[in-house]
């Protein structure tokens, strides 16, 4: 199973114990949208809960801050980057390669910023 950090995803029924654990670990839940791992989630613990409840490997993917797609495919740091331990938003190959990549990143973040 693949999970995009910061995006909603659906799960099959896991049972009360696993659901309760996920809530304690800061996974957000919305009846209509499903589950989401956000800023307050203990990603490492939630990942262990999911692996144990689903009985399969769960692959995490970081989201591109600019376009919102999966940022990890083709990343040269994929073997080095522990996705459960880094902050959940990244830049995809396209948006990290331009000469003005940082300025684009900055503008995108500023547009979403509160205050």
């Amino acid at each position: 199973m693949k999970i995009l950090l910061g995006a909603w995803f659906t799960l099959p029924r896991l049972g009360t114990a696993s659901f309760s654990s996920l809530m304690k670990q800061g996974v957000e839940y919305d009846r209509a949208l499903g589950f989401k791992m956000g800023a307050g989630t203990d990603v490492g613990a939630a990942l262990r809960t999911l692996r144990s409840a689903l009985g399969e490997d769960v692959e995490l993917n970081l989201r591109c801050v600019v376009c919102g797609v999966e940022a990890c495919p083709g990343c040269s740091y994929s073997s080095f980057c522990d996705r459960s331990k880094v902050s959940p938003i990244c830049l995809c190959a396209e948006h990290s390669s331009g000469i003005d990549a940082f300025e684009v990143y900055q503008k995108t973040f500023a547009a979403t910023m509160v205050g």
């Binding site: 040269s76 880094v86 902050s87 938003i89 300025e103 910023m113």
Partner: protein, 391 residues
Amino acid sequence: MWVEKYRPKKIEEMIGNEDCRNVACLWLKKWKPGGKAMLLMGPPGTGKTTLATLLAKQFGMNIVELNASDTRTKDKLDKKIGEAIRTVNLFGERSLIFLDEVDGLLGRSDYGGVEFIKEAVKLTQNPIIMAANDQDADEIKKLGSVCVALTFKPPPPREVEVYLRRIARLEKAEVSDEDIVAFVTSAGGDLRHAINSLQSGNTIASGGFKDKSSAVGDAFEAFFDSADPAAALVALRSVSLPPIEKVRELYRCLVRSSLPPEKLSDALEVLSRADMLMGKIMKNQEWRLLRYLDNLLAQELLPIIRGQNVRYATDDLPFSTLLRIWNDSKKVKEISLRYARRSHTSGSGARSQDLPFLFSLCGAKGFREQLEKTLDLDETFEKFLQKEAGR
């Protein structure tokens, strides 16, 4: 220092932890008396302190900052920030209270610091932000449950790479893709480490890439010629060397200068304090203290060496001097070993504690001959001991 030069001036100039930054902005925008405090948790170098400082700046608030691991007792905390927590200024403007490293405080409940924080969080008239490195400590978890808790994580490597490429571009440094990847991977998510690596790599001219912006020697010369500490500070900041190398270079210049002994002693005392500051920074990873290094050198070292014709020394010691040091150190080692055997002490102890006194006593009549006889020293030591006695 590129770390200082490229320190974010706005929240949007930071990288990583985008969600946390947004939540923190929203929290401060909506905060009212009686609202929850904020707890920022995460490893060093992930931007907790920077975010707190920039939040205050961006929302036009004064920041009252306290390192909680330095002030631990309830009375002292109350004296330092009690008023700031309970009151607003005459115009009704609020301050942002920032308690850094609260995990250092929570370890000692007997000091009353924990009680103070719990009360402060309830009674405050101003928003409080706390920062902690150790998010797994039980007390931090308890504190987190009554606060808006945000976990800071290292930025992903690709974001670090983008940031480094931007700095390299602005500094007009030619850096290969392999070098950038090496800096990113060796930093392990610590942005300060990555920037320092980029800067120090940039100053190594051989084979790699060269710094075009400033020459180290020119910057040091500008420091020595500075008329006042402000100019000295500017000169020091333009030295493209890692901070510890900066201290070492200054040491090298000072010991080769012709400063009078008392001036040299004062100057080395200042350098010693700078070195201790660097030791503390490296040991505890307290990189925020780095901002004091250049200030310390500019404010305290410059007045001692100003007008004393201290120059930047590029060459190594002359070979004759090096040879003498080498030969003398061999003799010192031999004497200290023989003395240690006689006095049942260690060689290093003899070298550091006893030999200076023995050498100075060699000026007394008959002492040197007695020492040579006791330690069974041959005639090659005679000249050496005479010279040491005459120092």
